[in-house]
């Protein structure tokens, strides 16, 4: 019992949106589609829902080819990023509408609407109209409408993006609970790696219409197959520096040299790309093998309770993620410490050669 996407290609007006998508999603599973904007997440969901038809390839549910089945007959439900409700119907009727259309008995409808509203905590608003509610309540209403029918596939297209931070955390935590006892295939699209990680489940990494890697969220974090996967999973993006390995030492951009520690030992000589997570770089040394770099501040941007500091020297640029709020003047000199035992190593084609052992073992 599963949803199979068989070699799906989709082009619109000559531009390719999806290429060679092959995925199998099991019943009762929670799946996350992770990718930046324009990665093809929404396109893929629309194909699964039946709103668009793939240029070629098949959508197969439980062994039945759905490719030519109309959206009304697919038994899917979908929650959009925008709060989509029927403004002329009360919240109660909004939630009941899929059941009414399916000609479910009135008593059954009343019961199921009540249950679903209770789960999503919108019972007090059942007799109001959607536009009289707050954004969070509106989105809860559209989620309730998606959950009230026993859909075999439930699609969430970045449903929490338009909500404020606290509500987002709250709804996300609830969402995971909602799917525990369902036998539906849930698919959740997001642009944020930490959201994918928080939701858990199977993650499919999409980039420019291609599947980059699939697997459990934590597995991809610990074992990214490629440089692309590692950088998609890092927020802000992972720092990448070209370097060369010789018998005893590593040189980054021919300017910074350090010796091969235990971590990088055994790396064959040659050219590589080294990656270091912004959160691993610090303003103070943590370890003996930290590399001290004299950099110049380009920009310090504050994001929530963190500061992303962009620094550069004449050879490369780095993004440093710092806890707390730091004020730095532009062009100010700063010393940063790069942990040489926490380096990702990729070959020049972008394949992962080595992931730091602290990432492989550590919690995400």
């Amino acid at each position: 019992m599963s949803l199979v996407l068989d070699n799906i290609n989709h082009t619109v007006n000559g531009g390719s949106f999806l290429s060679n998508i092959n995925l199998t999603l099991e019943s009762g599973s929670f799946n996350v589609l992770l990718g930046r904007t324009l990665a093809g997440k929404t396109t893929l969901m629309r194909l699964i829902a039946g709103l668009d038809k793939p240029t070629n390839g098949k959508v197969i549910l439980h062994g039945k080819d759905l490719t030519d089945v109309k959206v009304q007959e697919r038994n899917v439900s979908m929650v959009y990023q925008q709060f989509v409700n029927y403004p002329n119907l009360t919240v109660r009727e909004n939630i009941a509408s899929p059941l009414r259309i399916a000609k479910v008995k009135d008593s059954e409808i009343a019961k199921r609407v009540q249950e679903t509203a209770a789960i999503l905590q919108i019972e007090p608003f059942l007799d109001r109209y959607p536009l009289e509610l707050s954004g969070g309540q509106q989105q809860r209403t559209s989620m309730a409408r998606a959950l009230v029918k026993d859909a075999s596939i439930i699609l969430f297209d970045e449903p929490l993006v338009n909500l404020d931070y606290k509500l987002r955390e709250e709804l996300r935590a609830e969402l995971r609970g909602l799917f525990k006892e369902r036998n539906a295939i849930a698919i959740y699209a997001t642009t944020e790696p930490h959201e994918a990680m928080a939701l858990g489940g199977n993650t499919t990494l999409l980039h420019e219409g291609r599947v980059i890697q699939t697997g459990a969220a934590t597995h991809i974090y610990r074992h990214p197959d490629t440089m692309e996967a590692a950088s998609l999973y890092s927020e802000p993006a992972i720092n990448l520096i070209k370097g060369r390995v010789t018998d005893s030492e590593v040189s980054l951009e021919d300017s910074v040299h350090f010796s091969l520690g235990t971590e990088l030992e055994g790396l064959p000589n040659g050219e590589y790309v080294f990656g270091v997570l912004p959160s691993h770089i610090g303003l103070a040394p943590n370890n003996d093998d930290d590399l001290e770099l004299n950099m110049t501040v380009e920009l310090a941007e504050i994001s929530g309770s963190e500061t992303y500091m962009h620094v550069h020297n004449e050879h490369f640029e780095l993004i440093v993620q710092l806890n707390g709020i730091h004020d730095y003047r532009t062009e100010a000199p700063v010393k940063v410490y790069l942990p040489t035992h926490k380096l990702f190593v990729f070959d020049l084609t972008g394949k992962t050669v080595q992931v730091p052992s602290s990432i492989q073992k550590g919690a995400p």
Partner: protein, 268 residues
């Protein structure tokens, strides 16, 4: 005098000025012909309902109203039935030449109605539609349908496409979605459109007069033919005029909220 008071006074004067012709029409309808022609009186000296009595008892008069109302209602119904699907297509689908077609529809309104008069007259005479209500209603559609498509398209484009898709996902077929979800969402637009159809069709004279003779003759045409042996019956004419304004007032009263919303949201 402070500014707001001056503003109020200016506005009041303006409204009084606007209402003078209407006031004159109303008092005239309560006067006899001798008084109207006799001299300037601001209030009827001999108040009379005779003019109204004539209109409500003489079938050549009141049938004019009935005829007008019949073809106006027909026109409104036909226009909405035709324009709703057309506007939906323009707002939701991309097809070859869609923007050109949309503009072409509007450009129909730019041609002087007289251009279409002869072909309509000839066509209707030869197919036996001359002097029928449907003939006038259809002729008026030439002008009301493009306007209706244009107004409705604006309202429909204000409804996100995701609403359509959510309805399909919920299991609504297209007709059910259109009737139960979509139409209620654009009801302001429908109200505004119906109002504009009414406005056009109710006051239009050229087509209505040319395409009818007896059975479907509209009130406006009857009013232009009140020259009797004793000259023009001014009082009767004024009463007919007052009665012509009333349906307009009623329609505006019913759609006023929608029109206000329509002006704010749509494409009016």
């Amino acid at each position: 005098m402070d500014y707001s008071l001056r503003k109020k006074l200016g506005l009041a004067l303006y409204i009084v000025f606007l209402f003078i012709p209407i006031y004159w029409l109303v008092i005239m309808s309560f006067k006899g012909t001798e008084e109207i022609l006799g001299g300037l009186t601001l209030w009827p000296q001999s108040f009379t309902f005779d003019n109204y009595h004539t209109i409500f008892t003489d079938s050549t008069w009141y049938m004019g109203y009935v005829n007008s109302m019949i073809y106006v209602s027909m026109n409104m119904a036909i226009t909405l039935v035709v324009a709703l699907p057309a506007a939906y297509a323009f707002s939701r689908y991309r097809f070859i030449g869609d923007s050109h077609l949309f503009f072409w529809l509007l450009s129909n309104r730019m041609a002087p109605p007289a251009v279409f008069l002869l072909p309509f007259f000839q066509l209707y005479s030869s197919v036996g539609l001359f002097d029928t209500h449907i003939a006038v209603a259809l002729a008026h559609c030439l002008f009301t349908v493009p306007l209706a498509v244009w107004i409705l398209e604006g309202f429909m484009s204000g409804v996100p496409r995701e609403v359509d898709e959510t309805a399909y996902i919920d299991g609504y077929s297209f007709p059910k979605f259109f009737l139960r979800i979509f139409l209620p969402m654009i009801r302001s637009g429908i109200g505004v459109t119906a109002f504009f159809c009414f406005m056009f069709s109710w006051v239009e004279l050229l087509f209505a007069r040319t395409l009818t003779s007896v059975d479907a003759k509209p009130i406006a045409a009857i009013m232009t033919r009140t020259v009797g042996a004793a000259g023009i019956d001014w009082g009767l004419l004024a009463a007919a005029g007052v009665l012509t304004i009333i349906p307009g007032i009623l329609v505006i009263w019913f759609v006023r909220n929608h029109v206000a919303k329509g002006f704010a949201l749509g494409r009016v």
